[in-house]
C-alpha cells in the first residue's frame, strides 16, 4: 500500500510538470501582449518598455518559467497578479470557499433532483409522471445554464422588482444568509446538470428492475418502496456516481459564468478576469493549483476503492 502511494505520487510529478509547461506556453502563445493590454491606447514606447521590464517580461521565456516554478517549489510563492499586484495564493484561498460552497450546493441539488425524478420516472415507466420527468430532463439538458441564470436574474426584476442577486456574505459570518445567497445560483446550475443524471438514473434503474433478483423480491411479496429504494437503487447508482465524478470539472468551469451573473467572489471569476486580462501568473498558478487538486483527488479516490471494495488490491 505504501509503495503504491509512493508510486502514484511519483507519477503525479511528471503530470504536474507537464501541466505547468502547457499552461505557461499556452498563455504566451495567446495572441496579444499583456503589457499593451495594460496601457491600452497609451502605449508610448518608453511606457511599454518600462512596464515590460517592471513585470520581468523582457527576459527570455525559460528564465520566466524557472523563476515561476522555482518560486513555488522553493518559497511556496505562486507569484503576484500583474494587474492587482496581489499574491495569487492569498487571493485563491480567500475565494476558494465561495466556489466550494457553490459547487457543493450545485452537486447536492443536481443529485437530489436528478435521482428523485429518475426514480419516479423509472418506477412509473410510460406513465404521465414518466413523460413529464423525461420532458423536464430534456428541457434541463437543452437550456444553457447561463441563459437560465440570466432569466432568473432579469425576469423577477422586471415583473416583481426583485432579483436574487445579493451582496455576498461568507458562511462563517452568517450561514443562513450565505445559504440564501448561494441557493438560487446553485439551483439554476443544479437543474441544468440534473438532466443527464436523471436520464442515466432512469435507464440504469429500468435495467436493474428487470433483473432476476428484483423479480425474486417481487415474488417474495416485498413492498415496492423496499424493492426500488433498498434493492435496486444502490446498484443503479453506480453509473450515476461515475457521471457525477465526470461532471466535476464542469461544476468548477461553469462557476465562472454563474459567479459573474450572481456576483459571487469565487475562484471561477478570479480565473476568468485573469484570462480576459492576460494575467499570465494568475492563469498559470490557478491552473496548477486546480490540477494539483484534481491529481490529489484522483489519488484519494483510487485509494478509497480498497475500503469500498475489498477485492481491489494494490500492487
Amino acid at each position: 500500500m505504501k509503495r503504491y502511494i509512493l508510486h502514484r505520487l511519483a507519477l503525479a510529478v511528471p503530470t504536474l510538470v507537464l501541466v505547468s509547461v502547457i499552461v505557461f506556453s499556452i498563455m504566451r502563445l495567446m495572441p496579444g501582449d499583456v503589457v499593451i493590454r495594460m496601457v491600452e491606447g497609451h502605449a508610448y514606447a518608453p511606457t511599454v518598455a518600462a512596464l515590460r521590464a517592471e513585470l520581468g517580461l523582457d527576459r527570455p521565456a525559460y528564465v520566466q518559467y524557472f523563476e515561476w516554478v522555482g518560486g513555488i517549489l522553493l518559497r511556496g510563492d505562486f507569484g503576484s497578479s500583474y494587474w492587482t499586484r496581489q499574491p495569487i495564493w492569498d487571493e485563491f484561498i480567500s475565494r476558494f470557499p465561495v466556489t466550494l460552497g457553490l459547487a457543493a450546493l450545485t452537486i447536492l441539488s443536481s443529485v437530489v433532483i436528478g435521482v428523485v425524478v429518475g426514480i419516479v420516472s423509472a418506477s412509473r415507466q410510460d406513465s404521465a409522471a414518466d413523460y413529464i420527468g423525461r420532458i423536464v430532463a430534456i428541457l434541463a439538458l437543452s437550456i444553457p445554464y447561463f441563459g437560465l441564470a440570466v432569466l432568473v436574474v432579469v425576469l423577477p426584476s422586471i415583473y416583481f422588482k426583485w432579483t436574487p442577486v445579493y451582496t455576498y456574505v461568507p458562511f462563517s459570518t452568517d450561514p443562513l444568509q450565505n445559504l440564501k445567497i448561494l441557493i438560487v445560483p446553485a439551483l439554476v446550475f443544479g437543474v441544468t446538470r440534473a438532466g443527464p443524471i436523471m436520464r442515466i438514473m432512469r435507464s440504469a434503474l429500468l435495467d436493474i428492475l428487470r433483473q432476476d433478483y428484483i423479480r425474486t423480491a417481487w415474488s417474495k411479496g416485498l413492498p415496492e418502496r423496499a424493492i426500488v429504494l433498498r434493492h435496486a437503487l444502490k446498484n443503479a447508482m453506480i453509473p450515476v456516481v461515475s457521471l457525477i465524478g465526470l461532471q466535476m470539472p464542469l461544476y468548477i468551469g461553469g462557476s465562472v459564468i454563474i459567479e459573474a451573473i450572481f456576483r459571487l467572489p469565487g475562484v471561477g471569476l478570479f480565473f476568468f478576469d485573469a484570462l480576459m486580462r492576460m494575467d499570465y501568473p494568475v492563469v498559470q498558478s490557478v491552473n496548477l493549483i486546480v490540477a494539483t487538486m484534481v491529481v490529489g483527488l484522483n489519488l484519494a479516490i483510487d485509494l478509497s476503492y480498497a475500503f469500498l471494495d475489498p477485492r481491489i488490491r494494490y500492487r
Binding site: P31, G32, E40, H42, A43, Y44, S157, T163, D273
Partner: protein
Amino acid sequence: MGPRPLPAVYALILLVAVVLILPPGDAAAQTPKRGGVLRIADREAPNLDPHLAVSFLTHSWSSMVYSQLVRFAYGPEQKHSADFTIVPDLAEKWKYESPTTVVFTLRKGVKFHNKPPVNGREVTADDVKYSVERFMAKSGFRSRLEPVQAIDVVDRHTVRMTLKEPYAPLLNHLANAAYVVILPREVEDKLKDFNRPEAMIGSGPFMVKSYQKGVQIAFERNPDYFVKGLPYLDGVVIEITPDSTARLALLRSGKVDLGHMWGYLVPEEAKSLKQTNPEMVMAPTLTIGQGMIYMRTDQPPFNDIRVRRAIALSIDRKAWNESLFYGEGCTDAGPVPCALKEWKLDASQIDAAKAKYLVGYDPAEAKRLLAEAGHRNGLTVPMFHWPGYAPPWRTFYDLAGDNLGKIGVNVEFKPEEYGKYISTTYLGKYEKMAMGPITPFTEVDDWLFGAFYPEQPNNRSHVADAELGKMLLAQRREMDPKKRLALVHDIQRYLADKAYYVYMPHSPQYITHAPRVKGMKFHDGFGLGPRLMFTWLDQ
C-alpha cells in the same frame, strides 16, 4: 361696461395663480440634504494604486479619496457635461511666470484623512512634488507630463513646475482625475504600496470605510474635507457586479441607485428600463467619445485621397442616427468629438465643399471618386475590429459594411480576440482598414496631436502630413487660449476634406439614476468623487 381692472391687478391675479399652480415645496426639495448612502453597481477596479492603473474603474475609485492640484468644474460649477474649466483643488491659485514656468500656491490647512500612518497631517508642497514625480516615473499615462522638466518645492505651500517647452494641455492633464492625484509619501514607506484599501489615504471628499474584494467597497464622508459642508452624502457603496445584466436587474429592483458609476445606459437599455421603471430619472447625454473607420493612409489604396473621400461619402449618417439612436445622436463626430463644445468647429461653419467629407452622404459621388481612382469595379478591403464592444457596436460594423457595399467597396470582416485587437489594430497595427472606438480624452490635444501626429500610438491612420504636423505642434505650444482656439479651428478646417479618418455618428448615453438621487450632474471628466460630493439623496 364697468371700469377696466388695472394692469397691476392682473399681475397680482397672475402671481397668485402661479403660486397656486406650482407644486408645493418645490424650492425646498431642491435644497440639498445631508445624509444617506448612495449605492452603485459596477465592476471592480483592477488595482487601487492610481498611478499604476489606466483603468477608469481605478480612477473613479481613487477620485473619491484623493485630491488633485487642480480639477475640472463639476456639479453646480459646470456649464455642461464636457466643461473642462480648471478650478482650484489643492492649489488655490496658479500663475505662469513664463510660458515654461508655472507656480502653484497650495491651500493652507488641508489635511489628509485621519488614518495611520498619515494621521491627518497637512498636505504640503513635498506631497505634490512626490506625487508628480511618482506619476512621471510609474504611470501608463506618464507621456501626458513628458514636457515637464522639473518640479521644485519653493516653500511649504508653493511648488514650481518647469517645462521643457510651452505646453498648453498641462492644466487639463493636471485636472484629469485619471492622472496626477496627490498621495502622502509615508504610505509608500510604511505600508509598502498604495495598492491596498488601508493605503487609500488622501485629502478627497470620501474615505475608504471597508473593502471586501469581489463584493463591495464602501466609502464614508470625510468629516474634515476642506470644502465646508461637502460632501452631502454620508457614504457611497459600490456593489461589485461584473455582469451588465445583473447591474441592470439591481437597478430595476431598487437595490442600487446607479447601474453604472457614471450612470451610463445605452439607448436600448434605457428605453426598456423606462417601460418597467418609469420613475427612473434619465437624461440622454452626448458624452465624449468617437467611433471611426481608420485606414492605412501610408499604403494603397488608402494613400489615394479619392478613395478615402469615397469611404467618407458612403456613410449614411442621418439614417444611421435615426435607426440606431432614435435621432438623438450626433452626426458630426470628428475630428473633435461633438461633446467637446469649446473646441469643436461644427461642420456648418466649414466650407460646405469640404465639410461634406465629414458629414455628407453621396454614394453617386463616392462611386465616381472610386472610378477616378481606378476602382471602377469596386474593391475588396478587410475590416479589422473587436466584436465584443457593448451593443450597438456590432450593428455599427454591419451598417458600415452595408453602406460601403453600396458604393462597391466589399468589406471582409476580420473579427479579432480582444488581447490581439488591443495590442495591434487598436494601436494602428493592421492591414488596410479597421473600425472601432477610441478612449475618451478630456484634452483637445489628444484628439488632434494624438490622432494625427506621427509615431503617436493613437495615430491609427498613420497620418504623416508635414503641414498638419506644424499646426499640431503650434496649438499645443500656444499659451494664449484665444489664439490656441483659432489654431484648433484652423486644424479642423484643414482636416475636413482629408478624410484621414471616417467618423461614425456618435450615440448618446442615457445618464440614469433612481429618483431619490439629486444634484448628480454628469461630467465627462474621470472624477467620480467630485461628481458625488455635490450629489444628495432626497429621502
